[in-house]
């Protein structure tokens, strides 16, 4: 065998292994997706949206409590996290720029993005749940907001930096004060990017379970009281899945399916907005 032939064979083997690993990985991942879709569609019915939780064995049990709770928790977290994240990102891109402080904030925020979310749960337990004396929707929302801020900060910072400096200069030349330049020129230019960041941030916290376990806790009944424990899709899913009852496990799969569709939908919409923005 010549050296060339040997290299060609080694090439084939190596590429074959790499393709094989891609196939194995995708097979596992599609197996999980397949299970999720099959089990989810099988378990979904109108009842889920109409009824709240009930003891195992009842026909009339659903996920209304968890669906509404999830929307409230994520909505509150968005209300807290998005403005803070956008303002912090604005500071980094428009005022801090390359200063040491700005770089430190960027680095710390990047690390926070990958920090264990259950630790954030423990932290919020200590600062909100302990003083209040009980679990609450507020605690859950604060935990989610803390996770969301670094994500929004990062995308806002990146997206604002993409806005050309000449646009800012043009606005300054017209005599506009800095806040007006930022509000009317920079934000407008980076609209699509910021929106995508917000959607991805919502998608990320929407799937979080760990920080909710001991902040908003769980409840098997419908509630809109923000000072009380509040059910969420993720924690409900967790509790139902580890329960020994078939019908609860089914509800768990239904919750998993609804939540995944919601999160995938947000991701896809976010990408489309960014693509549409780029094409312009």
């Amino acid at each position: 065998m010549t050296a060339t032939q040997k290299r060609i064979i080694i090439n084939r083997i190596a590429l074959g292994f790499s393709t094989l690993s891609a196939i194995i990985a995708l097979a596992f991942l599609f197996w999980i997706l397949g299970v999720l879709v099959m089990k989810g569609i099988h378990s979904i019915s109108w009842n889920i949206f109409v009824f709240e939780g009930s003891p195992p064995g009842y026909e009339e049990s659903g996920l209304k409590h968890a669906l509404v709770g999830q929307l409230i928790l994520v909505g509150l977290a968005t209300l807290i996290g998005v403005p803070l994240g956008i303002m912090a990102g604005t500071y980094l891109s428009e005022y801090g720029k390359n200063s040491k402080l700005a770089h430190t904030i960027r680095d710390i925020s990047d690390i926070m993005m990958s920090a264990p979310s259950i630790v954030i749960g423990a932290f919020v337990y200590a600062i909100v749940v302990m003083p209040m004396g009980h679990f609450s929707a507020w605690a859950g929302a604060i935990a989610l907001a803390i996770i969301m801020i670094p994500i929004i900060l990062r995308t806002t910072d990146d997206m604002l930096q993409l806005v050309p400096g000449t646009l800012r200069e043009a606005a300054f030349a017209l005599g506009a004060p800095k806040y007006k330049v930022i509000m009317n020129v920079v934000y407008r230019g980076a609209k699509a990017g910021i929106l995508t960041g917000v959607l991805l941030g919502i998608a990320r916290v929407g799937g979080e379970t760990a920080p909710l376990l001991f902040t908003s806790f769980n409840d098997n009944f419908f509630t809109t009281d923000l000072n009380e424990a509040m059910p969420s899709l993720t924690v409900t899913m967790f509790n139902y899945a580890i329960s020994p009852y078939d019908d609860w496990q089914q509800l768990g799969w239904a919750a998993a399916f609804i939540l995944s569709m919601f999160i995938l939908g947000l991701n896809i919409v976010g990408r489309l907005i960014l693509l549409a923005g780029k094409r312009k």
Binding site: S18, A25, I32, P83, A102, A126, P177, L213, M237, N267
Partner: protein, 283 residues
């Protein structure tokens, strides 16, 4: 006037993040002092965890975290590198787009779903093959590997994609095969970025709670084989935080949380500052 208010508002928000991080460390530290004073170093070297006797040693949980993450990395790294090579070099443009996006979307699926799949579909298979309960270190390692794979593959691919085309083309012009180019051009060029990405994935895996809570067993016992049920720091926190009934118990759990935070902070900081920063400079 409004200008100043605006500047101050944005600056306060930006400083808030530093403040929150510092606050997290302070709060966790304060709440864990009782456990640290009571047990000292025994807290991280002893594995007896007996709430009824007020004895808390976190060794089993720390060991479980490290072991399950190590196992997951062992399984996921070769596959993730394979997927990354496939996505950046082998696949045709159309497949690349489709697979690339599906890998990224899979990274967005909530980890609790990987855990549910593991419990209901994967653990029974392990039980059939190896006997026993199926729940344990091996199950946790595999589920964790699958969960981290999409993220790992996506960031590794991004690191590989930073190799300039002109370098690859010159290697092809010298008669290199595709594998020669991958092994002698792309991997050396993107080495720092690839290692950084892998460590970043490790940092995520070590703090992952929901994917492993279902399949680890939550037994405070240092495992003697990879089939043994055991526990990890996040699993212990998830299972016991709401059950803690004494202040020492609580304090020990906060001690666990602090240990986990420090571990993941160090890992992520190493990835970011050492490898990824270097990779950025070389570009």
């Amino acid at each position: 006037m409004i200008d100043k208010i605006f500047l101050n508002m944005t600056r306060t928000s930006a400083l808030l993040i530093l403040f929150i991080v510092a606050w997290i460390f302070v709060v966790l530290f304060n709440h864990s002092t009782e456990a640290m004073q009571t047990f000292g170093f025994d807290f991280i070297t002893k594995d007896e965890w007996a709430p009824n006797l007020e004895k808390f040693g976190a060794y089993a949980a720390i060991f479980g975290s490290v072991a399950s993450t190590f196992l997951a990395m062992l399984l996921a790294i070769p596959v993730a590198i394979g997927v990354a090579i496939f996505l950046s070099e082998i696949a045709h443009d159309r497949i690349k787009g489709f697979f690339g996006v599906s890998v990224e979307l899979l990274a967005a699926i909530p980890s609790v779903i990987y855990g549910m799949w593991g419990l209901f579909f994967f653990v029974p298979i392990l039980r059939d093959i190896f006997g026993g309960m199926g729940i344990g270190l091996l199950a946790a390692g595999i589920v964790l590997a699958i969960m981290i794979l999409p993220f790992m593959a996506a960031v590794t691919r991004d690191a590989m994609n930073t190799t300039p085309d002109i370098l690859k083309e010159s290697a092809y012009a010298l008669g290199g095969t595709q594998w020669d180019v991958i092994k002698d051009v792309i991997i050396p060029y993107a080495k720092a970025g690839i290692i950084g990405s892998l460590i970043l994935a490790l940092g995520r895996a070590i703090g992952e709670t929901m994917a492993v809570t279902f399949v680890m067993g939550n037994v405070h016992h240092t495992p003697s084989s990879i089939m043994d049920p055991t526990t990890s720091i996040p699993v212990t926190l998830a299972n016991e935080f709401t059950e803690a009934d004494s202040s020492l118990y609580f304090s020990s759990l906060f001690g666990l949380a602090l240990t986990l935070l420090i571990m993941s902070f160090v890992v992520i900081a190493v990835a970011k500052f050492y490898f990824l920063r270097k990779g950025r400079k070389e570009q």
